[in-house]
């Protein structure tokens, strides 16, 4: 079959779908990855075929201009739908209004959506897989009659928030019974105009997809009424050199701790909430070996590098983490997921969006400790790290989560499920599906 995968142009949001794309391709399916031109290099570096659509939406300019305010609305805000008093009406309304204006409608701007639709009309995909904020994928699928699903590589806090928000709005008082989006539902309104431009009415499926491919272990999945196909997270670190250095082939003599602040803050305007210098001060003097993956700009912020610290620009995380006793990181989804499937206890900074829930739940399950923003101090970090190194229960709990993650099917095992779901969901009267046979058709 023909699978169109789409993600807005940000590595951190694209990386999570790469192993599934590999699996589909290896099963003989045609795979195209559409994004703004800025992602073309990352797509081809992953060995996939790129379709550049639209133009640079100026995400960095937005973050520079209003990022602080948008982030401040969400900082330290629990997104746990079960936490009492957290998802307040004002918070949800501001979330919908701000995120739609500054992000959803930006990374899916009209040129990008229309270009993607044009490509899909021409190429006629059977299935569109979309990064959960790349709603352009849903639009392209609906226009062409393709089946479509979201690919989740972080806990889907979005969907319970969306559902709480819609419940709070209730029916549109002025327009009861109609299928249009509520006038105060910014995301729905915007999708309504976007679908309307292509002659289609709005329905909530453009927000939810027909199903989700969910790579988050079940202990971290929030309640959702969207059907999910569980899939094991297979680490892919992105378009960076994946080379095993010589030192990594020698087993460590002391407990090894990995310190990483991820890649997004290195390559975008998105701020990093963890001061690098503070992290290294916190580990100074501990009887451990530290591998800190820091970029040049991050290193420039260091005032002092303790003796027990090895600075490296980049090392494949899935090669490094199996040698580590613990990992300290910024809370990003890729790092968190890789540590989880490698069974390494983690200290995750959780200050915004789903990073808070990942870190909080991880701690609840005993597999790590949450570093909330008010605890980002030398003492706050050091005391947590000492506990992780001294209490074996963390390693045991991390191993349990690893087992849980491994119980989900691999991307290769998910491919036949997607074939079946695609046959069920796409519009009728289309070309034959199937692995290798479909590749003959195309």
């Amino acid at each position: 079959m023909r699978v169109l995968l789409t993600s807005f142009a940000l590595d951190a949001h694209f990386n999570g779908s790469v192993p599934l794309a590999w699996a589909l391709r290896a099963a003989g399916h045609e795979v195209r990855v559409a994004s703004q031109p800025a992602l073309t290099g990352s797509i081809t570096a992953a060995g996939l075929t790129a379709v550049p659509v639209g133009a640079d939406p100026g995400l960095d300019a937005m973050v520079k201009g209003v990022g602080d305010s948008v982030l401040s609305h969400h900082a330290d805000q629990s997104l746990d739908p079960d936490a009492p008093g957290q998802l307040t009406p004002a918070f949800l309304k501001g979330w919908d209004a701000m995120m739609t204006a500054t992000f959803f409608a930006l990374v899916n701007d009209d040129p990008m959506v229309d270009d993607l639709v044009a490509f899909a009309r021409d190429w006629q995909p059977d299935l569109v897989l979309w990064e959960p904020f790349t709603f352009a994928g849903a639009v392209a699928a609906k226009v062409t009659g393709a089946a479509h699903a979201r690919v989740l590589s972080f806990p889907d806090m979005f969907m319970p928030m969306r559902q709480a928000f819609l419940a709070q709005l209730g029916p549109d008082p002025a327009d009861a019974g109609s299928e249009s989006a509520h006038p105060e539902d910014a995301l729905g309104q915007w999708l309504q105009w976007t679908l309307g431009r292509h002659g289609l009415p709005f329905d909530e499926e453009a927000v939810t997809g027909q199903w989700s491919v969910d790579q988050v272990p079940r202990s971290f999945r929030p309640p959702s009424n969207v059907p999910a196909v569980p899939m094991r997270y297979v680490p892919y670190n992105g378009p960076v050199p994946a080379v095993v250095p010589d030192w990594l082939r020698v087993p460590p003599t002391r407990p090894r701790v990995c310190v990483t602040l991820g890649l997004t803050a290195r390559t975008s305007e998105f701020p990093n909430a963890v001061p690098v210098d503070l992290v290294l001060k916190a580990i100074e003097g501990l009887d451990i070996e530290v591998v800190a993956t820091l970029g040049a700009e991050e290193r420039a912020l260091l005032t002092h590098v303790p003796d027990n610290v090895r600075l490296v620009d980049h090392v494949p995380l899935h090669a490094l983490l199996p040698t580590c006793t613990a990992v300290v990181h910024h809370g990003g989804a890729g790092t968190w997921s890789t540590a989880l499937v490698e069974g390494v206890p983690q200290i995750a900074m959780g200050w915004i969006w789903d990073a808070i829930e990942r870190a909080r739940r991880q701690q609840e399950l005993g597999a790590g400790l949450h570093l909330p923003s008010h605890e980002v101090t030398v003492e706050g970090l050091r005391s947590r790290l000492v506990r992780l190194l001294e209490e074996p229960s963390f390693t045991e709990a991390a191993a349990r989560l690893r087992t849980e993650a491994e119980s989900d099917p691999t991307p290769a095992e998910v491919v036949p499920v997607l074939e079946r779901l695609t046959a069920q969901h796409r519009a009728h009267g289309r070309r034959r599906l199937g692995g290798t046979s479909a590749s003959c058709v195309s």
């Binding site: 209003v66 209004a97 204006a101 915007w190």
Partner: protein, 455 residues
């Protein structure tokens, strides 16, 4: 609705075409982005941004915070220079260098958001030039002058008998429980406006429908409305223009002593060169787009204040002449137009601040009306408060043009309601529209004429 254009010579006509041709995606995204900005600038607690956000925050509390800011005139995160101090407000409202429009932007006051996330222009959310809402000071002065024989304070007594009849008829139709806005204030104000413009009976329903859609106009200029509301508004603007243009044309061939004939007769051939017919069109459109909602809002706010103060409601019963005082006090305590927005025509210094040309200056009239530097016990509503200096609620070009009209309507309303329904009481709290930072438009205000029966 295709009868949108009757005046072929109006220079703004091609602009209007462009506006209606904006796709849902273009206009919708613009409104959504502006709304996003109001949310964004409100995250720091900025009381002006929160006022424009117009969500659950108490507007009176925000007004106080605007007034009590450290400097009398301060710059909001939303870009505008804002004041809630009476002295500065009076200065701004009287300053001819501050206008409703950009001096260097002829035609529509349209601001397209580019990728400049750091400096969006939020002073004219949508261009409402077709409704004459962003007119120059000179235009406004001329309209007010030429309409004065009918709209001015001196002419109010001549309208009183008609107003009394309209209000009595409206009151006669009320049930035991009714909605003040939908069943009384708006119908009465609409009827009065229709009479003023000479709208024929056959067009009254159309006129009422159009006025209702125009009710958000003053809000829409500063606070993005939902797309559907915005579309209804811009359609209503075209519809009322067509309706008024027909009426004006009829008066041109058959003059009388009505509003349009009066404006047409006035010597409008002054410096601007605008035609008398265009002036009559402007006055007529503004009557529908501003006059009706302004009068209805004043009625609502006056009734709300009186019912919240039963002793004063009783006082009014003893002395119906106090209706004028009740309305005057309402204008100060809860003005129906809360915000007045201006653009600096040149670099100027206001309250010690350097304001560059093109900057937006906003007066919070509601805040200024409760400035303790001017008013004793300013939060207290007192219909016997001596009428003194300092009424700012009628000092804007729109509120000034329709001040006498709104006053007469509101005075007649409170007298009529007090006389007919001495037991009048709220059945529920006032529900105001969201996204209504300027007007605080009433969505629902259920009253009962005999509270014991309702209870």
């Amino acid at each position: 609705m295709t009868d949108t254009e009757t005046d072929e010579t109006t220079p703004a006509a091609p602009e209007q075409d462009r506006q209606t041709q904006q796709s849902d995606s273009e206009l919708g995204r613009h409104l959504l982005t502006a709304r996003g900005f109001h949310w964004i600038y409100g995250t720091s607690g900025d009381p002006y941004a929160l006022t424009l956000r117009a969500e659950s925050d108490d507007p009176v509390v925000l007004a106080r915070r605007i007034r009590e800011a450290e400097t009398p005139l301060w710059q909001s995160a939303a870009g505008a220079w804002v004041t809630g101090r009476h002295a500065v407000a009076a200065e701004v409202l009287a300053d001819p260098r501050l206008s409703l429009r950009h001096a260097d932007l002829p035609g529509l006051q349209r601001h397209v958001f580019s990728d400049a996330w750091s400096n969006p222009l939020l002073c004219h959310i949508i261009p409402l030039d077709r409704a004459f809402l962003h007119a120059s000071g000179a235009d406004h002065a001329r309209w007010e002058r030429s309409a004065a024989p009918v709209l001015g304070a001196g002419a109010a007594d001549g309208h009183r008998k008609h107003a009394e009849r309209v209000h009595q008829e409206t009151a006669d139709r009320l049930g035991a429980t009714f909605d003040l806005m939908a069943d009384y204030s708006r119908p009465a104000a609409t009827e009065a406006a229709a009479a003023l413009l000479g709208v024929p009976d056959a067009q009254r329903d159309r006129f009422a429908h159009t006025c209702a859609a125009l009710g958000v106009a003053l809000d829409a200029a500063l606070c993005p409305q939902p797309l559907a509301v915005t579309r209804r508004l811009t359609e209503a603007v075209e519809d009322v223009r067509a309706l008024v243009a027909d009426l004006v044309a009829a008066r041109q061939s058959e003059p009388g002593d009505d509003l349009f004939s009066t404006v047409l007769r006035a010597d409008a051939s002054g410096s601007s060169g605008a035609s008398a017919a265009e002036d009559a069109l402007a006055v007529g459109v503004l009557t529908a787009a501003v006059g009706v909602e302004f009068a209805a809002g004043l009625i609502n706010n006056a009734v709300e204040a009186l019912l919240a103060h039963p002793r004063q409601w009783a006082l009014l019963g003893e002395n119906p002449e106090l209706a004028a005082g009740a309305v005057e006090e309402t204008l100060r305590h809860a003005p129906p137009v809360r915000l007045e927005s201006r653009i600096a025509a040149e670099d100027l210094t206001l309250a010690g601040q350097d304001i560059p040309a093109g900057a937006q200056v906003v007066v919070h009239v509601g805040a200024a009306g409760r400035d303790p530097a001017v008013f004793l016990a300013p939060d207290h509503f007192d219909l016997t408060r001596p009428v003194g200096q300092g009424q700012l609620a009628l000092s804007g070009p729109h509120t000034s043009l329709f001040g006498a009209f709104a006053r007469l309507q509101a005075e007649t309303a409170v007298r009529t309601l007090r006389e007919r329904h001495p037991q009048l009481a709220p059945a529920d709290g006032v529900r105001r529209r969201m996204r209504s930072p300027v007007l605080g438009g009433v969505l629902r205000y259920t009253l009962t004429t005999s509270p014991t029966a309702a209870a």
